[in-house]
């Protein structure tokens, strides 16, 4: 089984694509085979984990604008996307300026420490935030922890292309401490073995009670950032809190399907989706509902939160 970071290579190649890579990435669609990605952690493994050091890892320095889809194919589309991206980069500066002193890693760290404190065997001995510079960081950080196990949260946060919502994504690994457990071997010399993995997505729209009434993206950026970013900070805070809750929930619920099969909806479960595209990008079933929020378990095992 491959380490997820090997998959991230391709994923991020698409995200960072230049013209050549973009074309190549389209051709690589055939490489995908459908298996669940989630690796749940067993009760016995939790007992054997020992002290856990958590690391919130960030690859970005500020909130990101996200891809702007232009329908069609060809150079014209790519130029159109580039123009849209240029505009998004310009417009998002209002939000970035309002968040210039915001520390997302610290917010997630506080939330995660709180949610995991309630789970036996998963309370964190230490947690900090670091910038991910290189793949070797993962090996270095795990080695530094010695006998302690390491929970690595690879965090990403952005505004949706139309600036109507914040989107938080995270992949979470748990690497066992030295001599504690036999982890799943990673695919690559720079990556440590692991005993838990899953991916998470949280989408939180602009709070409707704030009188959302503007249509232009630049005006939306200004509305997010008004009062020194009060709204964007609160919305990001809400998303990070939910992410921490989802990680805690996922560590404590839902065993893997038998025979490495996909996560199909249990009998009688409500079908769910995430994303407003048609058809939705994520299909699955509703696993949890509370306070207007829905958690969708995707076929891959990933957990996605949507709602008001």
């Amino acid at each position: 089984m491959n380490h997820p970071a090997a998959s991230l290579v391709l994923c991020n190649r698409i995200v960072q694509s230049n013209l050549l890579l973009f074309a190549v990435s389209l051709l690589l669609g055939g490489c995908v085979s459908i298996h669940p990605s989630r690796v749940p952690i067993s009760d016995q493994s939790i007992k054997d984990l020992g002290p856990i050091n958590a690391i919130i890892g960030l690859r970005q320095q500020e909130i990101k604008a996200t891809a702007v889809n232009v329908k069609g194919m060809g150079l014209g589309v790519e130029i159109g996307e580039s123009l849209n991206a240029n505009r998004a980069e310009k417009d998002i500066t209002f939000v970035r300026d309002a968040l210039v002193n915001y520390q997302p890693g610290e917010v997630v760290a506080t939330d995660l420490r709180g949610t995991l404190a309630t789970l036996p065997g998963l309370a964190l001995a230490h947690i900090d935030t670091r910038q991910i510079t290189n793949d070797e960081d993962f090996n270095t950080w795990t080695a530094e922890a010695g006998n302690n196990s390491v929970m690595l949260v690879d965090l990403d946060y952005s505004l949706s292309p139309d600036f109507t919502a914040v989107e938080v994504a995270a992949t979470v690994w748990i690497h066992p401490g030295t001599g504690r457990l036999a982890g799943i071997p990673a695919n690559g010399p720079d990556l440590p073995s692991f005993i838990y993995f899953n991916s998470f997505g949280v989408t939180v729209p602009f709070p409707s009670h704030q009188g959302w009434s503007v249509n232009e993206i630049q005006e939306r950026a200004q509305q997010w950032s008004q009062n020194n970013g009060q709204i964007i900070r609160a919305t990001l805070g809400s998303a990070f809190q939910e992410l921490a809750s989802m990680i805690a929930y996922d560590l404590n619920h839902t065993p893997a399907p038998a025979n490495n099969e996909l996560y199909d909806a249990p009998r009688g479960a409500e079908k769910g989706w995430a994303g407003l595209t048609d058809p939705p990008a994520v299909r699955g079933y509703v696993e949890h509902k509370a306070n207007g929020r829905i958690w969708v378990r995707a076929e891959s095992g990933g957990l996605f939160a949507i709602g008001q």
Binding site: H3, V9, Q16, C31, R38, T66, A281, S300, G302
Partner: protein
């Protein structure tokens, strides 16, 4: 909502199951060269001009730029590509000093200055959005006018353009453009009587 957001996560998820066994690539690290120019003009702009200051000219003293970034080498990190640059402060300082305007004069000694400027490099990074490359520079500047309490303002410079080949030179040009934009904004304030009055 954003299909790319979900598709990225799904790619991570599904690919993890073993589908990319033949598709993984090695990590490459690009060391970008962000240094001041080495020709004589680079030296000239650092020379004090105190001896030739006309009466009424605003005298500005620049303190060295402080590096306040949490990671002082990384410019961008992707699983397949990392961009780094070592010791960028001389590059930033040179850009600030070289941009001096005739309407104010640089002095070496802060005691002789009307305005003491303390720049802090907060962010310097690259990112990629679709086929676009973006470079961002954020500098926080502390201004002190004749010993008065300081005022701090944050300046942002950025560049966005088509990512043609992803070459190191292309990235360096993008970062230089972003820094130049940022420096222009700082200079615009220093050349603004209204801003100087507000300090």
């Amino acid at each position: 909502m954003n299909s790319a957001f979900y598709v990225s996560l799904l790619l991570v998820g599904f690919a993890f199951g073993g589908g990319f066994a033949g598709c993984s690539t090695e990590m490459t690290t690009s060391h970008l060269t962000l240094e001041p120019p080495t020709d004589s003009s680079a030296v000239a702009v650092r020379a004090p001009v105190s001896a030739s200051i006309a009466p009424g000219t605003l005298c500005v003293a620049w303190r060295p730029t402080q590096d306040c970034r949490p990671d002082k080498t990384s410019l961008a990190r992707f699983p397949s590509q990392t961009y780094v640059a070592d010791d960028v402060l001389p590059w930033v300082d040179h850009a600030l000093h070289a941009a001096n305007d005739a309407r104010f004069a640089t002095v070496e000694n802060p005691i002789q200055a009307d305005v003491v400027v303390t720049p802090r490099l907060r962010m310097l990074y690259l990112e990629f959005l679709d086929v676009t490359k973006c470079a961002v520079v954020v500098i926080e500047v502390e201004f002190s006018y004749r010993g008065q309490p300081t005022i701090t303002k944050t300046y942002r410079g950025q560049y966005a353009g088509l990512n043609w080949a992803g070459s190191d030179a292309e990235m360096e040009r993008a970062l230089r453009s972003a820094l130049a934009t940022c420096v222009d904004k700082i200079m615009a304030d220093l050349n603004s009587p209204a801003w100087i009055k507000a300090i």
